[in-house]
Amino acid sequence: MRRSLSMVLSILLVSLMLSTVGCGVKAVSSGNQSLVVGEIWKINNIDPAMNGTLTMEKALITESLVGTKPNFELEPCLAAEWKRIDSNTWQFTLREDVMFHDGTPLNAEAVKWSLMRAIAINPQIQSFTKISTVEAENERTVVIRTTNPNSDLPASLHYSNTSIIAKSSVDKDGKLIKPIGTGAFKLEQFDLSTGDMKMTRNTDYWGTVSKLESLEIRALPDPNTRALALEKGEIDFTCDPPYNELERLEKVEGLKVELNKTARTYIIEMNLNEAPFNDLRVRKAMSYAIDRESIVKNVLFGCGAPAIGPYMPGMAWTNENLKGYPYNPEKAKQLLTEAGWSDSDGDGIVDQNGQAMKITLMTYPQRPGLPPMAEAVQAQFKNLGIELKTEIMDSTAMSEIASKGKWDMKMSAFATAMIPSPSYHLNTLYYSKNNKVIGYHNSEVDRLIDECMVADDQQEKYDLSKQVQQILEDEEPVIPIAYYGVAVAMKSKVNNFVFNPTAHDYMLTNEVNIKE
């Protein structure tokens, strides 16, 4: 009995040991010109229609019809040019020299198939683009019709989930085998269980062929692990290590750290239908009471910037004349007193008609900066005599509570250029019909946004957007807090990396290589 038991045990042990050896160390291709990237998200999907950011901006496998410059202005990419034929019809002319990785040419039929596939898979693409039909007029010309007039169609075709893949990317049942795009790199290998991707360069690339021979992406969603992997030399490039380690990493020999901003803004929305938020003076007082510099320094560890308006500086349509609400506790106190709020019973909390100002701020944990930021705001409001309670909940639960109308404040991090258009973000957040939850009504803002959306001239669009931003500053229906930061950390030998603020997180290019 005993013998058989120990035998079973030892067999189990030996077989387990063997299986360990089987999945042992994987050799890393160690050519000079190879780059290993530590990706910040889990990689659970490499379908460009779902996770285009990965395939387009990070793995450089796919490209979309329209590109953007670093200031968010549109520029040609796979489409050489486009024009609006009538309010619902657009004509895109494709570049001539583009081949997919499987050797087939990029033509109008391929674009049609790829766009229709993406729309069928991801319902969001339909609501961005409002595409009704895509037709291949001839080899190079694609005609796209929309269900409603959409002057942002080119901008929405920059969105990475619309990036173009060849028909051979899927099997006969329509299931994705692997994305076959037109980009500077071809996907060689993808391991779903670890999320590792291996790419080799596309020597037939229509642009400059990359000096990098291979590109590898490893999913390392834990910030600590990323920092350590970079330090130990397992990866060459990553972003967002733990913010508190930035200072230390910077001093490590052979590493460099860069702080950048992306088109995402931490904001507080308020329930404008209810007191005290329906009083402009109270909103201004609250905005003055927030010490944005301290929040950026202490909560974000310097990764980000104090926010002035909805858009960060440097975007083509950002109104750079805005002053914002710099930290000014005296002015905040004064405005609050003017609005009729003062501490009459001496309990440290301001009140009006016997009602103390007690407010609940909701936020969600998925963006790690939010909960501590909420706690910082709580401490700063306390100095002003406002009692703020923070509630951390799921973001869906938060929008559900808000949609029922019983809420005070919520804090989120909104992407401001999901589609690189000067009206997109304003339209979703401030147009009275689209965001009934915060209850902001300003017919002038509505009119300007409408005009901005239909205008064909880019400069005119930018000007209209800037006018809206000025009104938003005057009325402060939403309190901007900070622009979202990205900390990029890499080996010093990584050459030619230029941060592109249009990126979702970070964007590599065919220019990046390794210093010899």
Partner: protein
């Protein structure tokens, strides 16, 4: 004997089916399976505001307007054929993803069980034999601490000491044998301590039985007594504990896999919980319940094999 096996098998299947109903019920009466949640988590992004058209599309795609029992029926029909539905986030069959991740968990759990038994059984026997000596006290006190030590905290202590301090092992991930060491030690510590205490007390009890005393009175050598008479009977209760422990190991693997970023089923479960990937959560929970039920079945059977009294005796 066959009757016993069949009966146990039938009971196990019933429990698994009931567990599937329970899981399905819990997970589908939740805010996690509304179209808005699915949209936000799997398609448009957390901060975006879904449109009516998007909501309609998702409701139809995931049959969310059908009554629950119909949804369950459809799911069960497919599940019987090995199709657990598609993950919302991965857009791939749940069964395929689980198949991909399960071996890593089995490897981790199996090695941890082996490690803990390798430590616990000899130590437990030694402590029992050398009862009330310094060695025994030391062993029992360390076991006490190991049981009370939360695994996630132990994991961090090990990381701080062995990965950051001495740079012996990788902090996390699944790269080679060395990355197995810390997760295995973390998982094995608590379980080994429990097994050791069980082994010790079971051994003590057996050793105070009359037949051992008789053997001793007959002048047999102590080692002979232990190996020939005591061990065999002392193992019985330990087998049950090891079976029970396996379930806790599945639960513990969620924590250990999270800390060490181990690409197993526990990590998949916790990721899916946060991604609101309900079909995936359901698949993982069900797999764990099934594995647990099967292990318990095996324990029952091996118990029966080891103890002839059970074969013909009562079934509780």
């Amino acid at each position: 004997m066959w009757k016993f096996i069949l009966k146990r098998l039938a009971a196990t299947i019933l429990v698994v089916v009931a567990a599937s109903i329970l899981t399905f019920g819990i997970l589908h009466l939740t805010p996690g399976s509304t179209p808005v949640t699915i949209l936000k988590y799997a398609f448009i992004g957390l901060e975006e505001i879904p449109t009516e058209a998007e909501i309609t599309e998702i409701t139809e795609r995931y049959m969310l307007n059908e009554p629950l029992y119909k949804q369950y029926y459809c799911w069960l029909k497919q599940a019987v054929q090995g199709d657990l539905g598609d993950s919302c986030v991965y857009k791939l069959p749940v069964a395929e993803l689980i198949g991909l991740r399960f071996p890593a968990t089995v490897l981790l759990a199996g090695l941890s069980v082996a490690l803990s038994l390798l430590m616990a059984i000899p130590l437990g026997i030694l402590c029992a034999v050398k009862r009330n000596t310094f060695f025994d006290h030391l062993g029992r006190i360390s076991a006490l601490f190991a049981v009370a030590m939360p695994s996630f905290w132990l994991a961090y202590l090990l990381i701080i000491i062995f990965s950051l301090g001495f740079d012996f092992f990788p902090v996390a991930g699944f790269r080679g044998i060395s990355s197995l060491v810390l997760p295995c030690v973390t998982l094995a510590a608590g379980m080994g301590a429990v097994t050791m205490r069980m082994m010790r007390s079971s051994m003590l009890e057996v050793m105070s039985q009359d037949y051992i005393l008789t053997a001793r009175a007959k002048g047999l050598y102590e080692t002979g007594i232990i190996s020939r008479h005591a061990l065999k009977n002392a193992f019985l209760p330990v087998v049950t504990v090891v079976g029970l422990q396996f379930g806790h190991m599945l639960g513990g693997s969620v924590i250990v896999e999270t800390v060490f970023a181990w690409p197993g089923i526990g990590k998949l479960l916790i990721d899916s919980i946060f991604a609101k990937d309900i079909p995936m959560v359901q698949g993982c929970v069900l797999l764990m319940a099934t594995t647990y039920a099967l292990v318990n079945l095996l324990v029952d059977l091996s118990y029966a094999l080891m103890d002839p009294r059970i074969r013909y005796g009562r079934e509780s």
